[in-house]
């Protein structure tokens, strides 16, 4: 049984061998994929801590489009990971049939870490992609699992690099060449050539020619016939195969980036064919992430008695929309940049948050901001003092020259430089100094 299994695995390895499945190309694609993973990890951590800062953290408010770029890069690099990961898995596929599969505790751990690495990577980029169009067909929390798996991926990537370090060092440079994709030692070759046990003995007195008997034994049984059929196909030419492989991976990366990144980067807008988002559409010419209907604010936001309350301890001041409009108005150009990667530059006008908070607190205050939303993870958020002090942070009342649409946060919303869209609180209700 063991011999049969070994033989099957060796046959599988031989069947899937191809010139583009070699260590050098695994290293080439691996470097690109690792870079993409690290870019995603870095930009992802930045986005995470913007939303859940540790107490000592302060963030740059300028350039005001910083988050637009970091998150645009996060999503675009994540999408580029699909062809890169498929390419990487393609180059190492014969390793799946390595025999013996496990040689000891070290190889068991190495294999387990690869399984975790591959599984986590595939799940991470898939749920990330589906999140960009708000599609959640899984039984777990997106944000929590996307965050946790990023550490699992970086951890198993480090272990993978440690295990493969000799191969990576050996094939880092092109001049060190390409190892034959799969090579069998004498022992493995003899296992492959050995006749199958279930081959009927040749009839006595009619000895078969040795070569013919070998072919007969190889081709017996269904698997034998499949492998013989595969072996009978013409071998691909190594150089053409490698070039085709790299060109295909390159073309795939170019295609997925070019045809989707227009949702994040204005310069690629004309090529936006498949992104879930489109710049310049929606009420006030800005796309919407959470509608007033979804946030259940269609009544409260239109209430004539609405007033924005600003509290510091026992002091509370309140402003109706008319009172806010009567105050000195400031106009700023700031992007709305979503965690889902899309972004949109827009012109906002309203009252400086700094001036409003100044009515109840000295400079340097951090805030707790509450929305009229009935529920949701971002109903109550916090704002660091750096954003309050920045003079471009507004309680916005108009958007692109028009009254703020209810889907964009009427009667008043927050807009601050360099923050994720989910923290640009819409349908403002209450601002408290912390």
């Amino acid at each position: 049984m063991g011999i049969m299994l070994r033989r099957l695995l060796l046959n599988m390895q031989r069947a899937v061998a191809a010139p583009s499945r070699n260590p050098r190309l695994a290293v080439v694609i691996g470097r690109l994929l690792a870079t993409a993973f690290l870019v995603c990890f870095g930009t992802g951590l930045y986005s995470h801590f913007l939303q859940e800062p540790l107490p000592w953290m302060h963030f740059p408010t300028q350039p005001s489009n910083l988050y637009q770029y970091t998150q645009g890069i996060h999503i675009t690099a994540g999408i580029a990971c699909f062809p890169l990961l498929f390419g990487k898995l393609y180059t190492v596929f014969p390793n799946l049939f390595e025999t013996p599969p496990i040689t000891g505790i070290g190889s068991l751990l190495a294999r387990a870490s690869i399984a975790v690495f591959v599984g986590a990577s595939l799940v991470e980029i898939t749920i990330g992609l589906l999140n960009t169009f708000q599609f959640y067909p899984w039984p777990f929390g997106f944000r929590e699992v996307h965050f946790a798996l990023s550490f699992v991926i970086i951890g198993s990537l480090a272990i993978h690099i440690a295990v493969k370090l000799p191969i990576i060092a050996r094939y880092w440079r092109k001049r060190d060449g390409y190892r034959p994709e799969v090579s069998f030692d004498a022992d493995e070759q003899s296992a492959l050539d050995a006749p199958l046990i279930d081959v009927p003995r040749p009839v006595l007195g009619t000895p078969l020619e040795p070569v013919a008997s070998k072919v007969a034994s190889q081709a017996s049984g269904l698997t034998g016939r499949v492998f013989a059929w595969i072996d009978g196909t013409p071998r691909p030419q190594p150089r053409t195969s490698r070039r085709t492989f790299l060109a295909t991976v390159g073309a795939s990366v170019a295609a997925v980036v070019l045809l989707t990144a227009g949702q994040s980067f204005a310069v690629l807008k004309p090529f936006n064919v498949f992104a879930p988002r489109e710049k310049g559409i929606g009420p006030n010419q800005v796309p919407v992430n959470r509608t007033a209907m979804a946030a259940q604010v269609t009544d409260t936001a239109m209430d004539a008695a609405w007033a924005l309350r600003i509290t510091n301890g026992t002091t509370t001041v309140a402003f109706t929309r008319a009172e806010l409009l009567a105050m000195p108005q400031t106009t700023v150009n700031l992007p709305i940049a979503c965690v889902e990667g899309w972004s949109q530059m827009a012109t906002w006008s309203g009252v400086r948050l700094h001036d409003l908070v100044g009515r109840v607190a000295p400079d340097g205050a951090a805030l707790r901001i509450t929305s009229l939303e009935k529920e949701g993870g971002y109903r109550v958020t916090q704002m660091g003092s750096e954003y309050v002090s920045d003079l471009s942070t507004l309680v916005a009342l108009t958007l692109n020259g028009e009254t703020l649409d209810i889907d964009h946060g009427y009667p008043a919303r927050m807009i601050a430089p360099g923050r994720p869209g989910v923290l640009q609180t819409k349908w403002l209700d209450h601002v408290e100094v912390m």
Binding site: A158, L165, R243, T291
Partner: protein, 156 residues
């Protein structure tokens, strides 16, 4: 002298490996702690099932499919030029990866109530994309065949 270098190399290798494995174990631990703290056991089982499903989908379904197609394509190589075959295979791979990314959008568009998410007609665009890929592939194959023929003539 060379032996000393080798010993130095081995030491550096060992150090690099130790650091990488340390970072790796730390990452795995942090990820596991985060999962256990923020998700219920049922949700964690869900994550494990999705990871296992992804591996099975790739290793047991997609990869054998790709292998089968590439073997079939190589069989066809008796009659079709290898370069043309390579161009066609590349085009199919690019188109398939795009399709894999766009099909979920086609489905999700039927669910969403938000009019500014998934704004395009993705199924139609996917169809047009395959037509464009077919046209570009045909053009590339023609150019390639002409150039190959010219090169052959020049060599003769």
């Amino acid at each position: 002298m060379r032996e000393v270098d080798d010993v130095g190399d081995i030491r550096r290798f060992r150090l690099a490996r130790a650091i990488l494995i340390g970072v790796g174990v730390l990452g795995l631990l942090l990820g596991a702690i985060e999962l256990v703290m923020k998700q219920t056991p049922i949700q964690i089982v869900g994550v494990a099932v999705w990871m296992l499903g992804a591996i099975i989908l790739h290793d047991a379904i997609l990869s054998p499919l790709v292998l089968g197609i590439s073997v079939l394509a190589r069989r066809a190589g008796h009659r079709v030029s290898k370069g043309v075959l390579a161009i066609m295979q590349g085009a199919v791979v690019v188109g398939s990866i795009m399709t894999l990314l766009v099909v979920p959008e086609v489905y999700a568009k039927t669910l969403g109530p938000n009019p500014t998410v998934l704004t395009f007609d993705y199924a139609q665009r996917l169809g047009v994309m395959w037509l464009v890929i077919a046209a570009l592939t045909a053009l590339t194959c023609i150019l390639y065949t002409r150039r190959a023929a010219k090169n052959r003539l020049q060599r003769q």
